[in-house]
């Protein structure tokens, strides 16, 4: 097991390094040059050279990368071009908000997904199964932002029982805070709930077809026990892997959801950076979001290895 963990950690470090290289070089995709693009309209070419030197853009690219990554490792992401504020402060204030939203979305979708998936597997091809499967397919096809629009329309505009924008920190007022994240979490978690549900259903059907389940039933084990101690445990392994990757995807989805519901998380920060061409902020948010994404996936891998001994010895 320790070998398995070590392998995963080494690959985690390598991928994080790769991410930093990709993010760093990305700014060079900008047609022309970022400085030209940002200041070209306002300043003469003499001043542009000055700014280029100020940003260190006139030095060899490897040197630039090393200096930049050195600062990033000390959690110094520089300052926003637009506001002039330090980016790191902003990220530390926003990351908990996104994690809170993702946590709520993830929790409800796992509870719903697993429960409905298991219920559907009880009577395959029955009425409940049909309903559950159809909802699952629909949930996967609905874009986040459309679902969000419909939810706001129904719960905020027509029924007027839930707020449609804004965020209240959890420790300020736990009840209001939960209510404020209700619609965003619902919209964000639907895809995940649908995916988890489909996986839970098919994993249960797979497991229930195995000989050891028939043996358990044949020797008179009660159905409830067949489910709880034989089937669920084994069916949960693939579901857990999926939960890991889907949790990571919540971070991507939060980009859109936070923008719609005006939630001051890191996704909103990233989208605002894109729209205002604030490249240092975009680089920083990409590093943080992709970094968290990889960490979540690694944790899921580790959990997988812990649950299923076969994985470790590959």
């Amino acid at each position: 097991m320790s070998r398995y963990i070590a392998q995963k950690l080494v690959s985690l470090v390598l991928v994080q390094f790769g991410i930093s290289v990709v993010v760093f070089y990305m700014i060079r995709l900008v047609p022309g040059d970022a400085v030209d693009f940002i200041y070209g309209l306002y300043l003469g070419s003499g001043r542009i050279e000055e700014i280029r030197a100020l940003w260190g853009l006139d030095r060899p690219i490897v040197v630039q990368y090393l200096e930049w990554i050195g600062r990033v490792l000390q959690l110094d992401f520089g300052r926003s071009i637009v506001s002039g504020y330090p980016i790191a402060d902003e990220i530390f204030a926003r990351l908990p908000v996104t994690l809170h939203l993702s946590f709520m979305a993830g929790t409800w979708s796992v509870i719903f997904g697993v429960t409905l998936g298991v219920i559907a597997s009880r009577y395959p091809n029955g009425k409940i199964d049909g309903l559950v499967t159809t909802t699952g397919i629909l949930g996967l096809a609905m874009p986040h932002f459309w679902l969000a629009t419909l939810l706001v329309l129904v719960f905020a505009v027509y029924l007027n029982i839930l707020p449609s924008v804004g965020y209240i920190p959890f420790f300020e007022n736990p009840v209001e805070s939960t209510l404020s994240l209700m619609l965003p979490a619902l919209a964000l978690g639907t895809t995940m709930a649908a995916a988890v549900m489909r996986m839970a259903r098919s994993a249960m059907l797979d497991v229930l077809a195995h000989d050891y389940i028939r043996t358990a039933r044949a020797k008179g084990v009660r159905e409830r026990r067949v489910y709880s101690s034989h089937a669920l445990k084994n069916a949960f392994i693939p579901v857990l892997t999926l939960i890991g990757t889907e949790t990571g995807k919540l971070l991507g989805g939060s980009l859109i959801i936070e923008q719609i519901f005006a939630i001051p998380g890191i996704g909103q920060y990233a989208v605002e950076a894109v729209l205002s061409r604030d490249y240092p902020v975009l680089q920083a948010t990409m590093i943080v979001i992709a970094g968290s994404y990889v960490i979540i996936n690694t944790l899921a891998d580790l959990g997988y290895g812990l649950l299923d001994p076969r994985v470790r010895y590959d």
């Binding site: 047609p31 096809a141 874009p143 986040h144 419909l150 991507g252 729209l275 994404y293």
Partner: protein, 299 residues
């Protein structure tokens, strides 16, 4: 030679034995949902191709009706904040969706297949590089990477659709590469490839006539999935303001506009979203059907 190969190993993604088109169609048609999916896509495709004849109004015409009127006989889907006909805009939106979907999925398929087949066939250092590249791109949440690539590319005088298409190619190509690589490795181990090598077939020839035809089937499933993802991502990007700029009738951009006044005119937000959802639904169930169709264990 490839035609004569029939494997019983379910895990290997090897192309099915050649069968006549009639039989293949009957086998495909047994999967009813897939047929429905294909029919839905066909309707959208027709709408995209025949938009000029089908759309009752010009999608950009601000005088098509009075502003924010609800659905009625003249405007089935109502009108938006500028008095433009929502139905006409939804129909023209299919054109944008298909252009972006076809170009980005094809681009990703070509690039991904090339990388994946070469990596899987030659192995060694090249394969290491390919796997690393795939893993690296998978390390980013797709929508974040797509937004960033599109944002970094915009503003260079490229036509509006190009940055989005390139961005979607970048995030989709690794999926094709992974599928192609896996299939190539499985096929490479088959005796007929070894036979071709012993007979003195050159690498390009073996790849072209033995590997490539057998890799296409699993990639077809991926193509359907990528197409549906492209439509979702394009509308997400446009919704956030990094895709097609207004007044282009992109479904995502229509939703952004309508979000601001949806209390007064919910139809302007409802129908574009409905259009996206139905088309993605069509591709997803077609993809499921294709997967069953190509799966040798399901016969």
């Amino acid at each position: 030679m490839a035609e004569s190969i029939n494997t019983t190993d379910a895990r290997q993604p090897v192309a099915p034995r050649r069968e006549g088109p009639g039989r293949a169609w009957r086998r495909f048609a047994r999967h009813k949902p897939a047929l429905v999916g294909a029919a839905v896509i066909l309707v959208y495709l027709l709408a995209a191709l025949l938009a000029d004849f089908l759309a009752p109004y010009d999608p950009l015409d601000m005088g098509a009706g009075s502003r924010l009127t609800g659905p009625d006989a003249a405007h089935w889907f109502g009108t938006d904040e500028y008095g433009r006909d929502v139905l006409s805009r939804v129909i023209y939106g299919a054109r944008i969706a298909f252009v972006v979907g076809v170009l980005s999925a094809s681009g990703a398929a070509v690039v991904g297949m090339l990388i994946g087949v070469l990596g899987g066939y030659f192995g060694g250092l090249l394969d290491r590089g390919v796997t690393m590249l795939i893993d690296l791109i998978f390390a980013f949440p797709t929508i974040l990477l797509a937004i960033a690539v599109a944002a970094f590319l915009t503003g260079g005088g490229l036509p509006p659709a190009v940055p989005v298409i390139i961005a979607l190619c970048v995030v989709q190509a690794p999926h094709f590469a992974r599928v192609a690589r896996g299939a190539t490795i499985a096929i490479k181990a088959q005796p007929f490839v070894e036979a071709a090598q012993v007979l003195g077939g050159s690498h390009p020839r073996i790849i072209r006539s033995h590997i490539a035809p057998n890799v296409v089937a699993p990639l077809l499933v991926q193509f359907a999935l990528s197409f549906s993802y492209a439509i979702l991502a394009e509308s997400s990007l446009s919704f956030l303001g990094v895709g097609h700029p207004p007044p282009a009738p992109s479904w995502g951009a229509m939703l952004t506009g309508a979000y601001g006044y949806m209390e007064r005119a919910p139809w302007a937000a409802f129908f574009p979203g409905m259009a996206i959802t139905l088309l993605i639904l069509g591709f997803n169930i077609l993809g499921d059907g294709l997967r069953d169709f190509f799966d040798p264990t399901r016969r």
